[in-house]
């Protein structure tokens, strides 16, 4: 043991060569794991950004570690593949980072494995030193209003899943033959949906949007999209990039209610920078008289988008046959308080809006995976302390499951690195016992085989990737996504 230390201090004094300082970061890499009888083995449940960023950080910090990522679908990358809008391809560049991680010798990807069904959390905990839950938020908050089950009413999660090729959303086949669509919620997901509904088809056809969605949007009669929020412009949850994209969307014009912006100009200058810039842009769009050229552009536009503020859904109104949505009843609110903490309070007034498509974009929601894993059903997260699951040794969480379903890639990255750090600290301090060797994927592979589950490994995904890209070439798209698990598995067997 002491000879190891001498060796390292000797290397330290050779100079701050990068790779040595990378190893140490102030402590000894894997800590006690370094002196253990086996490699530390970590299992990550969920192959989206949180899973990959957690894996990346673990592998960098602990060269010996074996990190296995289990994913329910045959394809990796989670919301980067199925959530990020098709016309935001640069955001998907992060896939290259994740690909590099998957190809590290210490990392293995096992797709087509349903944790909770094909293998249990307990079995994973027995096989690995630590299990990190990063399976995100596959559910959604419901409006809880009558008529929510009518045809023509969808959750944003399902609508986005539909146009992004998520296999279990392909049956959605939304009817886009109405003139007006109403989206409840004003976050970036709501704005993505509005933009996809109103974008010129010529733009969409060069993206990786699915072929069925492209066909539906080509036939779409939707000409007006209202994006509705409970509170006011100062509380809107979207970010400036997405609002700018709406303002600049070809062949569309904005339609805002000037009265919604009353009193806002006076308080803008004192707002924190992100909120200030966003509010200024909305004020400009809503209140300023546009220049001649812009006015002409707006006059010629065939499509309309609008923010509607201070409105909450109370009922979806049905058509005469009572089988489709034909309108929505909105309660009128007023604000009590100001800033982020302002509350929407009912005034008693209501307003009916005719529409044929209603999309509720009021939040994703995590679901419990296993009764043995603590779950806070109010916040819909796994209760944790800096990524360490409470009252569950050896169990960690990262991503939206840890903090709730908000945040951009950078947030998830930090969040995942933080969990990885907690795990490393625990290995170092002995809180996480890595002294005894664990079988890791060897055992799990055996279990899966017995149960007739064939995992999709990373090189199998690359076959799917290859097929999608070459199919996309035929239509001038970056890829043509495979739309069913069966088809994906078929390709992997070739």
């Amino acid at each position: 043991m002491s000879s190891h230390r001498l060796l390292f201090s000797g290397l330290w004094t050779i100079g701050r060569t990068r790779w040595i300082s990378r190893l140490h970061e102030g402590k000894h890499g894997c800590g006690r794991a370094f002196f253990s009888s086996g490699k530390p083995k970590v299992c990550i449940v969920g192959g989206g950004p949180a899973g990959f960023y957690t894996a990346q950080h673990l592998i960098k910090a602990c060269q010996d570690a074996e990190v296995d990522i289990y994913e329910r679908l045959p394809v990796p990358f989670g919301l980067v593949r199925f959530g990020v809008a098709p016309d935001h391809p640069e955001v998907k560049n992060v896939i290259n980072t994740f690909t590099q991680t998957a190809k590290q010798s210490g990392c293995s990807f096992y797709g087509n494995v349903n944790v909770g069904k094909d293998v249990s959390i307990q079995e994973l905990q027995q096989a690995y030193h630590a299990v990190v839950l990063s399976y995100g938020a596959e559910g959604n908050r419901t409006m809880g209003v009558p008529g929510e089950d009518l045809a023509g009413v969808y959750s944003a999660k399902d609508f986005v899943g539909w146009y992004n090729g998520l296999p279990n959303c392909q049956q959605l086949r939304p009817d886009l033959s109405c003139e007006t669509a109403v989206i409840l919620g004003q976050g970036n997901v709501a704005l993505d949906i509005a933009r996809i509904l109103l974008s010129p088809v010529d733009v969409l056809k060069k993206t990786d949007i699915t072929q069925p969605a492209l066909e539906a949007l080509t036939k779409s009669q939707i000409r007006r999209v209202l994006i509705v929020g409970r509170r006011g412009p100062a509380q809107i949850a979207c970010t400036i990039k997405e609002v700018r994209e709406m303002v600049n969307l070809p062949d569309t014009r904005p339609e805002m209610v000037a009265a919604d912006f009353q009193g806002l100009r006076e308080v803008v200058k004192d707002l924190p920078r992100p909120r200030k810039r966003l509010t200024e842009l909305m004020l400009k769009t809503a209140l300023e008289t546009p220049g001649e050229k812009e006015q002409e552009r707006r006059n010629k536009a065939s499509r309309v988008w609008a923010f509607r503020f201070f409105r909450s859904p109370v009922e979806i109104l049905a058509n005469p046959d009572n089988n489709r949505a034909a309108g929505i009843r909105l309660a009128v609110n007023k604000l009590e308080g100001s800033g982020e903490g302002a509350q929407a309070v009912l005034t008693g007034e209501v307003e009916d809006v005719a529409c044929g498509l209603v999309i509720s974009s009021i939040g994703y929601k995590s679901l419990p995976i296993d009764p043995s894993v603590p779950f806070d059903s109010r916040k819909a997260i796994v209760p944790n302390n800096m990524g360490r699951v409470q009252q569950a040794a050896g169990l960690y969480c990262s991503g939206w499951l840890k903090t709730g379903p908000t945040g951009v890639i950078a947030t998830t990255m930090n969040n995942s690195f933080d969990t990885a750090r907690s795990l490393m600290e625990d290995m170092d301090s002995g809180m996480l016992d890595v002294s005894a060797a664990k079988p890791g994927s060897q055992n799990i592979s055996g279990l899966l085989e017995k149960r007739g589950v064939i995992p999709v490994i990373f090189s199998d995904w690359e076959k799917i990737d290859s097929v999608e890209i070459s199919r996309g070439e035929a239509t001038g798209k970056p890829r043509e996504k495979l739309l069913s698990v069966e088809e994906m598995l078929q390709v992997t067997r070739q």
Binding site: Q100, C238, A410
Partner: protein
């Protein structure tokens, strides 16, 4: 083993042309510097061999306006040297002898500093956020609107925040310190409001 992984890390960015995602050239520093090896002949269809050739060209030309060998810290011309210091997430100071024209994000990658560039300099994320030393912050050109838009989404945004992928070294920036935001426990203290997504 460590060297291999450091090399793998620094080659991560240099091999971004292996991407299956078509790159958006308009915000890429290579494009801005007209130092893009693919240039205007960017093919729509990449064979893996094309990508490999492109990646190798990047390994040779580097990010700056001047040629350098991969890994070399001795500039041909001492007037082109710009010394900067990165302060990584653990607080460790890493002095780097760089060159005029070097890009702060790719320079970090070249030296194994853990500055992420998720969108690969497309102004579509905020993972390369750095805090710029006060003395040098004002010497940087004003950010374009798209950079400000992305910064607005960055966790732990500060007055002196910039996106590393948009900073190119000049001699005026001699001595600049670039601090990586801490991946911090304090991220979730009281007062934290959920970020949009």
């Amino acid at each position: 083993m460590m060297a291999a992984s450091a090399a793998a890390r620094s080659s991560m960015v240099l091999t971004f042309r292996l991407s299956r995602v078509l790159p958006n050239c308009s915000s890429c520093p290579f494009n801005k510097l007209k130092a893009c090896a693919s240039g205007s002949a960017r093919p729509q269809r990449r064979t893996s061999l094309d990508s490999f050739r492109t990646a190798n060209r990047h390994l040779q030309t580097g990010t700056g306006l001047y040629h350098s060998e991969e890994g070399s810290s001795n500039a041909e011309n001492p007037d082109d040297v710009v010394n900067v210091v990165y302060v990584d997430r653990s607080g460790q100071r890493i002095p780097i002898k760089a060159k005029v024209g070097d890009n702060v994000l790719y320079l970090a990658h070249k030296h194994g500093i853990e500055l992420e560039g998720a969108c690969e300099a497309s102004l579509a994320c905020s993972t390369c956020q750095v805090y710029v030393s006060a003395a040098h912050f004002d010497k940087l050109p004003e950010p374009e609107e798209r950079e400000d838009d992305m910064l607005d989404m960055a966790p732990m945004l500060q007055e002196n925040s910039r996106l590393g992928c948009q900073i190119f070294l000049t001699r005026e920036l001699e001595g600049m310190e670039l601090t990586l935001p801490k991946v911090t426990r304090n991220f979730y203290v009281d007062g934290h409001t959920p970020k949009p997504h």
